[in-house]
Symmetry: C2
């Protein structure tokens, strides 16, 4: 979900007590929800007393906010400039480009920590404004802008509404990634959903993009 093209995995490794608290909190929050986890639960797993936690975080809410910031930072670290995207787009044909983008999105999504933060975001989205804004902006709107830019570069002027084109491409992906993360908890058929995502990419390319091709444009 971060490295559409470059595919890098940028997530800081944490080691101190503060970072252990974050790590344990991510684990517990993702399974039990923020309000289903107590400071005692966290400190017990970290191996410290409740009072010690307050040397690192002034409140439970601050822990949650730190977790959200990790997600945002991971995202921003792998963002490419328009110039960098342009170069990649020129180097690659559209179908493999889209496949790689999805594969990167997926691989990021499967990173244990980010996967858990995604669950926390989903869990708290209707209670915490920041959570829902992260999902909407970083997992829905930004990817749409990204693909809109890519389609614009590739298709030139053969279709006016690149945003619509991008939304049609990305929204099924978003829904299936969500489905995937739910299936994971249920020990469901993961490979089936993954297959469906790539079916979508091929279907989209064959049924929508090829119709937009104009004679002198190489998809």
């Amino acid at each position: 979900m971060f490295s559409y093209i470059c595919g890098e995995q940028v997530l800081a490794k944490y080691m101190g007590t503060k970072e252990k608290i974050i790590e344990v909190s991510i684990e517990l929050f993702s399974n039990n929800g923020y309000n289903g986890v107590s400071i005692r639960d966290i400190t017990k797993l970290v191996g410290i007393r409740e009072s010690s936690l307050y040397k690192h975080f002034k409140s439970k809410e601050e822990i949650l906010d730190n977790i959200f910031e990790i997600f945002i930072q991971s995202y921003n670290q792998t963002n490419l400039t328009e110039e960098e995207i342009q170069v990649k787009v020129k180097q690659t044909d559209l179908l493999p480009f889209l496949r790689i983008a999805i594969e990167n999105f997926f691989r990021d999504m499967e990173t244990p920590i980010l996967e858990k933060i995604f669950r926390i975001l989903m869990n708290e989205q209707f209670r915490v404004e920041k959570a829902r804004n992260i999902i909407i902006n970083y997992l829905m709107h930004y990817p749409v802008s990204f693909y809109a830019f890519v389609f614009q570069e590739k298709l030139k002027d053969s279709f006016p509404d690149y945003i619509l084109l991008a939304r049609e491409f990305h929204y099924p992906v978003f829904a299936m990634v969500y489905e995937y993360s739910v299936a994971k908890i249920n020990n469901g058929q993961l490979s089936e959903i993954k297959k469906q995502i790539f079916e979508h990419v091929d279907f989209y390319f064959n049924n929508i993009l090829v119709n937009r091709q104009i004679p002198n444009i190489q998809l």
Copy 2:
């Protein structure tokens, strides 16, 4: 999300204390999450004491389960048999049929109670298995089966994979309905999202379905 075609609104009206408890719980759970709401919060709003609540529900979890059952019952009440769908499909052209289906899905989604239960389902999905199964089965898989059946009826044998066709139609709708419900909390631009959903319907019809048309089939 229930009455794809018939458009009926079937939701029982409740009046007794038990039903008041449900009503208040839906309100509170949807805003604060299950673990963010106490029995005291609920009984205070209902106007009874904590102990009285336990004459109606043996535990807090049982309240949540009742809420989920309301959602399932509302859903099942508006389900049509394959025969009924066949009749509707024959009576209506495909584009208006799809538009009506989306409008019904939307109108159900905007029913205050069901909208709140949807939020509760989203909130608790990673903690409560029943919640995530309801979302996956009733809001993703069933609609896909429904549209697959419709496309099969309309397109006959012009495209083999109706499930794929149906998924491509419904998954963007699911994502946008989700987006819509989030926008509602943020006081966001609702009409814009609604517009986008119908843009999707038209785009889908014009770019995907018309290509499947075979000479003697009336879309």
